[in-house]
Every structure is written in structure tokens, then in C-alpha cells.
Symmetry: C2
Subunit: 355 residues, 2 copies
Amino acid sequence: MTIYDIAREAKVGIGTVSRVFNNSPKVTSETREKVILVATRLNYQPHAFAQALARKRSNTLSAIIPFFTNYFFIQVLQGVQESLVPLGYDLIIHGANNQEQLEEYLSRSMRKGRTDGTLLFSLELPDKFVEEFTDKKIPLVLVDTFHPQFDSILVDNTIGTKTAIEHLISLGHRRIGMINANLKSAPARERLLSFKKTIVEHGLEVDDAIVINSTSTRNDGFSREAGYFAMRNLLERDIVRPTAFFISSDIQSIGAIGALKEKGFRIPDDVAIVSFDDIEIAKYFDLTTMHQPMYDMGELAVKKLLFRIENLSAPVSSFKFTPDLIIRGSCGKNKNYTFNDTNEMGVHEPTEQPR
Amino acid sequence: MTIYDIAREAKVGIGTVSRVFNNSPKVTSETREKVILVATRLNYQPHAFAQALARKRSNTLSAIIPFFTNYFFIQVLQGVQESLVPLGYDLIIHGANNQEQLEEYLSRSMRKGRTDGTLLFSLELPDKFVEEFTDKKIPLVLVDTFHPQFDSILVDNTIGTKTAIEHLISLGHRRIGMINANLKSAPARERLLSFKKTIVEHGLEVDDAIVINSTSTRNDGFSREAGYFAMRNLLERDIVRPTAFFISSDIQSIGAIGALKEKGFRIPDDVAIVSFDDIEIAKYFDLTTMHQPMYDMGELAVKKLLFRIENLSAPVSSFKFTPDLIIRGSCGKNKNYTFNDTNEMGVHEPTEQPR
DNA sequence: CTGAAAGCGCTAACAT
DNA sequence: ATGTTAGCGCTTTCAG
């Protein structure tokens, strides 16, 4: 089934068939009807790649994420995918488990014609690619990572951290520890800086004995294990235990809570915890945390990327989302949280996502 | 940059250039070198769609999943994606939130040339598509869903359920309840049947007052909310409380545990729970559950699909994985599970996935 | 408004 | 072994 077949059947030229399918106005509604009729009868479907080749446009976007099984990315991707569908775009997803794979995927994305643009998540764009992407003017938008020469979407870690710490302080905590991810991650650095700054601003003291930066390279320390070991390590130190912790991600909190429970500590009674992300399972653990609007980030990423595709030379722009404090039970507030809470219910399934 | 450019520069014909890039043996290593040299100098990349058009092969597969934010699918997809990459294939992912979207995606997948084959997850293939897919011989493999005319990959719900129940019985439980998903889902039906059968086989009695099938349509009742409400409903009944529950998915267990805790019950002391899936967060909740080998399912799905692509007329085949019982703390065994347990550690990150 | 024809970049069959 | 040519299926001039 090609346009030739349907052209022959409808007794028109292939150009006309093409015009009909491209909604060209210069076609009599009469011939249009005729063509449509034949096309549906023959169950015609345009060949995607032939179209792409002729149009020089693939209607396909690609997304490169660090880890497949990371809720943060999945939730952002949901926003991406759902806003892409109505536009007729398809999404290719690449999970880059290491630097080598990242480069492989980046190369594929640059491969002419493969995709119209790409989304890079939380990964630093290797130097050798920045030149290539800019030179070839390949549309690229960065999500949760930054480079001055490309569009990006970020979360304000400074404000987010400040809000989290001030929540703890407002609850009466004076000795606050931090469990951080690996400092080679930019968000980890920003969160640490803001943590210290906020503590000092409130006349409290930063005690480095209760601040732990992960040395794990796996997922840059944003992992359950990293959280577990950091907390266990800290609890074994011969120091005055903090009454509260700021932990740089929900997933680390879950590990840290494991370590706390092992030692017999109760949350929030013995120690309060506030973390960052608000991934879906945060509510199952009743975690007070800084919410990142992942779905919205995905939507905006798509918007930016599509804009870039249309406007190759527009000035680069960057947008920062401000995270919101979500109060659940891990800081001793709102202890009577239940699964009934309609605010909490259903936030995690597509049909009821905040849009 | 096209083969013409590099052909001109290298002073050869375009055919030769093409041959070099397709590793044709009929080319002198001399000319090959020359071509490669020019190509790398000009930073040439073959145009994916032109290739696809000429080869009649896209090197792209698509996967249709019911919900984006469902760990089961994500984990299977990880297996899919990782086994695809080395083969040079790309993966397009479609999240179908409803019947309409499902049909839209199926149509896209059938669109000639778009993909070489598709993977359909846990969704019933609508009748009108079975004919089309078979007629047009479009490669399709079903994962966690079944149709006699297509290849499929399944999990043995009957054996899985039997194993789970017998574990409970071996622990001394005699009054066992079940919280099930919506019976319009095939796995839910199979699990219910096997539950009753196993109970009876062991000389126990099936009490319908402690068996609840979800009426939720959202995700067919495989959701936290469905689990929560089912359990709450059951606990409010004026009956003898079961000492143990078989719950048809981990995600429902998490909801059910919420309901149990609200009523002041402790797990596993007051009630034991065994469920199904072993999604990543099951271990965070210390859930004893039937493990589905999701990563392996993804790998096998790819293998089957690629085979089908090469052998359009091979007989249809179906493979059933047998789930394994993973004993954690929710049945009162192995209570001293810690985050240290190396068996448990790292199972959830790509680099250390069981292969 | 419509048909014919020239690509889009590549592969593969056909010559040489 | 290598160059040439005819498609792959569609879009888009260019005539008419």
C-alpha cells in the first residue's frame, strides 16, 4: 500500500494523494473525499520513514536517563511522554548505565535524521559533545543538569534546602545533621552549601561530624544503600546524636531509616527526617520532603525542546522550578496521616496527575 | 554529509562507500581505509531513515505498557532496553492510559516501517487488531498477557499462588484471607482459582467473607488504594479475622498494610502477609512475596521478538516463568533481615541486576 | 487545482 | 573489487 496504489485506484496523481494527507488547502473537497475513501478502503498508512526522509523530520525525540529504575526519571518521563503523544511524536528512551553508554547514546542522538531532538537527564554533557551539538545545531535540552550553552530545566536546590532546614528549625530542632549524596553531583554540592548557609543564618552551628557526603559512585550516592551506610556510619560515631536530619534524596532516606530502625530509633519520635524529591514511594514511607514537580518538568522539557526545534537560533534559556515542602509524618507533624487523605490519594497515577 | 560527499572526497563510487559501512567483504582493505579516513574526517554519520527506507528495516522496536509509573513494567523494560542496545536497536515506549490510547499506539506500531516489531504488556489485544497483526504479519509479542495466535511470555500464577499459600500453611496458618485485584484481569482470576484450590487441597475451608476482589477499574485493582480499601473493608466486617493474607500484588500489600496499621495490627505478629511480584520496593517493606523475574522476562521478550522478526512464519510459542518465593519479614520469618543482606543488596540497580 | 518529475540518503542488483 | 543505476515511499517544486 503506497500512495501509488491509492493514486491509481482514485485516478489521481500521487502528488494529490500526498496533498490530501498533508491537509493541503489546494485540493477540491471533491477529490479529497475520493482519495480519503480509497485510502480508508485500502487501509492505507503512510510509511513513517519515507515521510521522515522527504520531510527531513522524524517526529521522534529521544531521552537519555541515567538509570532506568529510578522513580524520579520515570515520573518526569511520564510527563514527557504524555505531552508528546497528542503531537504525534514518539519517544525513544535510553538508559545510560555508564559513561561509555552515555556517549554511545549521545552519538546516536546526533546521528542525522534519527531524532529531531534529545533530552538529557541529570547527566553532565561530556565536553566533546558540547561542541558537536552546538556546531551541528542539534536540539538538546538538559533536565536536572546544566550547561550555559543549552536550554535547561532545573530545580532550585538552594531554596529547596533552605525551606527544608527551616521547617526543621521551626519544629524546634537545633542539632541538625545532613546525609548527602556524592559531591561530584552538582545538586549534592548545591544542597550542602545551602544547608550550611541556612544553619549559620539561624545562628546555629555546623558540625562536620554530623554531615556525611557519600563516596559512592553508583548513582552518585543517590541510592538506598548510600543512605543506609551513611546513617549507620554516623550512628556509630561517638558524638551527640542529631535530633533531625536533612537527607539529600528520598531514596537515601529509606536506607537511612533502615539503619535507624536497626539501632532501635523511632521516627519521628527519636529523630526527624526531611528529604528531597517526593518520589512516588515517599508517601508510602510517610516522608516529609521537598516536592519536585516531575510531571511538570517533563511537560516543560518537551515544550522547550519543541520550541528549540522550531527556533534553532533562539537564545538559550533556563528555568528553575521551586520545590514545595510536603509535610508528612517523618518530622513529627501530621502524624495522623492516613491513606484516606484525599490530597495524597491518587497523585501517583497518570489519570490524576497534576497537570 | 552524505555518501556522495564522502565518495567524491575519497574518489570512489557511492556503492563502495555503502559497502564499507555495511562491512561488505568485497572491498580492498586499501580502499576501505581510504573511505574510513575521509568519513571520520568529515564526521560522517549515515542517515538512519534513509537506511531504514532502503533496507526496509528500522532497527526500532516499540513497547506498549499500561502505566508508566508501575515498577513491574519499568523493571521488565529495563531488561528489554539493555538487551536491545548492543544490537543497535532503539526502543520506543508508549504508556497507554486507556483503551483509546492503546488503539492509537497499536495503530502506530502497525504503521508500515515505523517499527520492526512491538511488545504489548499486560493488556488484552483488542479483537480488531488480532486480525490485522496476523494478516499483515507484524511481529508482536505479548508479555504478561495471552492470545493463542501470538508469542507470549507469562508467569505461572497457578504455581506461584500455590507456593505462596503453602508457605503460609507451613507456618501454621489455618485461616487465610485473600485480597485480590479486579477479576476482569486474567492474572487475578488465575490467582483466585489457585488460592481456592490450594486451600481446599490442604483440607482447609474457603470462607468467602475473607476473600475480597477489587472492583476498581483503575489499573485493574492492582493499586495501593485498592489494597487499602479492600483491607479496611474486610477489617470492618464482623467476622473472625484471618491470621494471614495472600494479596495479589505487592503494591496492594502496601495499601493493605496501611489499613492494618491504622487499626493497630502489627505485621507479622498479628497478621502475616504474602504477596506477588517482588517489585523493587517490596524489599523496603520487607514483604515476603512471589518473585517474578522481570529483568529476565524483558530479555526473553526481546529474544522472542527478534526471532519472530527473522522468522515470520515460525510456529507461535509461549513461555511461562515460574515465580520464586522470596522470604522476607512479612510472614514472621527471617525477621532479622537487614539492609546488609548481600543477597538483597543492589538487586535493584542495573549494573548488578541478575542476568 | 492537479499531474509529472525531481529529489531526500541509502542499499542492492547489475554491470564492468 | 568497484562504479552505476534503479528503487525505497513520500514531499515538493514546477508546469499546465
